[in-house]
């Protein structure tokens, strides 16, 4: 316990200072949320590269939580769905149902090139389409995988902070 304490003191704050919010990037539909966005992440068929980046976006260095975003366990608690990967046929219905399970107002973020336009998986036999073919998308994060900075910036666009 003492060693842990010492380590804490030595490490101090890991989080990088918050960059200036990018102007004009806010999502109007998110205004009602008032600076608090709970996120349910859905892997609709990703290669898991995006997941690694999400984990680091919520990790100590980028600390997306400081802007009012938080990952939750149930879509009932969520305000936004964070969808990664192309929508595979197996996940299409599940994705729709998850969206249906989120109470209004609800947002959808398509994260990564796959989610935006099927990326490297475009045209594959198991792919039903991009996220926007299945659900109305409110925000997109390009990149394969997107950088944590980009993810954080998109989230800040929703929380407005």
């Amino acid at each position: 316990m003492i060693s842990l304490l010492r380590k804490m003191r030595k490490t101090g704050r890991v989080a990088e200072p918050a960059p200036e919010p990018a102007a004009g990037d806010t999502v109007p539909a998110a205004a009602e949320l008032g600076g608090s966005v709970q996120i349910r992440h859905i892997d609709a068929g990703s290669c898991n590269g995006c997941e690694v980046e999400i984990a680091s976006a919520f990790g100590p260095v980028y600390d997306a939580e400081r802007y009012g975003a938080r990952l939750v366990a149930s879509p009932r608690h969520a305000d936004a769905l964070l969808v990664t990967g192309p929508v595979t046929r197996n996940m299409e219905v599940a994705l729709r149902r998850t969206h249906e399970a989120v109470p209004e107002p609800r947002l959808v973020i398509a994260l990564g090139d796959c989610a935006r336009d099927c990326g490297v998986f475009a045209g594959a036999y198991g792919v039903a389409g991009a996220v926007k073919d299945v659900l109305p998308v409110d925000a997109e994060v390009p990149g394969c995988p997107p950088k944590p900075e980009a993810i954080v910036e998109a989230l800040r666009g929703l929380t407005g902070r």
Binding site: A94, E100, A101, E104
Partner: protein
Amino acid sequence: MNAAGASLLSALGLCLVSALAGATAPRRVRPLLAGLGTACAGAAAAAAGVAALAGQSWSAWLPGVLPLAGARLALDPLGGMFVAVTGAVAVCAAVYGIGYAKHGVDGRVTQATLPLFLGAMLLVPVAASVSTLLVAWELMAVTSLLLVLAEHARRPAVAEAGLWYAVMTHLGFAAIVAGMAGFAAGAAGESFEQLRAATLSPAVRDAVFVATLAGFASKAGIVPLHVWLARAHPEAPSPVSALMSAAMVNMGVYGIVRVGLDLLRGGPSWWWLVVLAMGALSALFGILQAAVASDLKRLLGYSTTENMGLVLIGVGAAGFFASCGDKELAGLALVAALLHVVNHAGFKTLLFLAAGSVLRATGTRDLDALGGLRGRMPYTTALFAVGALAASALPPGNGFVSEWLLLQSLIHALPTSGVAGAVTMPPAVGVIALSAGLAIATFVKAFGVGFLARARTPAAGRAAESPPTMICGMALAAACCVALALAPAAVLPALSHLVAVLLPGHEAVGGVVTLRLADVQGTMSPLLIAAALAVAAALLLGSVRLVARRARRPARLWDCGAGPMTPRMEYTATSFAEPLQRVFDNVLAPESDLAVTPTKESAYLVESIHYRARIPDRIERRLYDPVLAAAASIGRGATRLANGSIHRYLAYGFYALTGVLLVLAVVW
């Protein structure tokens, strides 16, 4: 004759009339006539009991009714309380029984026996001599046994339960006979007045108390004499279960209080510590078994053992304090115990009747097969909820008030009752607390798994609400529970008064809206709690409505986006109780067996797996099974003596006769 006596006699008369109606009326109107008659008898008895509690006393000597000494009856406040409780339970059960009888219990024997059973139960607390008490006691045992066996043709388990009950109740009866006979032999006569005046040697007093305690405790379903209760109460038809579990078990408590505190005028503190220990053991063991039971009526039966255990903790504490000379605390503990008797009668009637309603509608008592009754049986569900709230001793239920009083009496004992108290009271409080906690788990399980969510079987999915008479019976019981919960002050003065007569002292509890304990600091206002909760909930509802911007929306259950969730995926009662079962593994000793059948082709491929888990009653396993096994083996050995040869039997007779003659010749 005063009002109390008149209504008591009319109650007994009505019992006889309804028995006659039950025996002779045609099947179509039989339940209605017998049920109405029994309900009227119950109401008259309740009136008699209330009059007795209010101070009217009545006594009678009917020389012709019983041979030798005749029947002696007397109605005093203590007996009156039990008469009132029994009468009130009978009203609910009888009204309910009118609708329930169509469910296969409208036979002549059952319909005629039920009023007789009520009459016998009314006679027990008004019996004022040893012989009257014993006759009434046996009548109660026999009639209830007949009622337990009512459905024997339909379920084989009934016959087994009846056998257990018959044996246990008669062993108990034998103990009571021995105790009371010994008592009467040492006194100038057999009427209770003479018993009160008797001066016995301490050894005889001890023997009398221990023998009667064993007998009465077995009727109250106290561990380790409870084994019949968890079998007989579930197997009886539900109105009978209610009468047995809410009224008959009380007679055990009545007996202990009457003999121990009234006739023997208290005793050494070890008597009462024994009572307290038995109560604590029962409370804990009963509720543990209830917590892991998945048969709804068996669960309720074990909960009866628990509640009688709590009552005996109170009675034991009262006797103990009295023997230490602390009359005030003794009064408080006894008031708490008696109030718990009343409360338990209220909610247990309700719960057993509601369980019967479920059984009628679905044909099963197995919680693992129920569920989803909320929508199909709204009244039964709501009424069961009232009973479950009371049984889990949470405010604003009525069980909370009596448990609070009980705890108050125990915790105030520490400074005054010496080392024995200091050693006993903390564990007793711990036991009450643990049993209260487990009771919460038990009734959350019973209500949540049995009634909420979705039906686990098609039978539960087809359930339909019970007929109005049954709902009416349950609603009466629920109304009593609510009244007792909100205004315990309606009965507490009467109970305090009766206790003040029994253990000379002043009244232990006062106050109308806020209960105030007379001799120790303590205030509690059940009404205020209920009102505050209602106001808070209304306030919250209003403010949520005010700030909410969107309407409520129905939606699919969250099933992780996958296919529909089937009822098979719901938590069952067994799985609900599994953590508790694991925590109390050492006490419960659950049994399970796993049979894996491999396919013919290979030992590594599995054809089927059978898993069976059950939680036996451990006391029955350890205490009764060896005795029964020994009896059975002796019986088998004895069959070798009787091989069917007449010659041999004649030889036995010859040897026996000469043996006796020889002994006489030598001894004389």
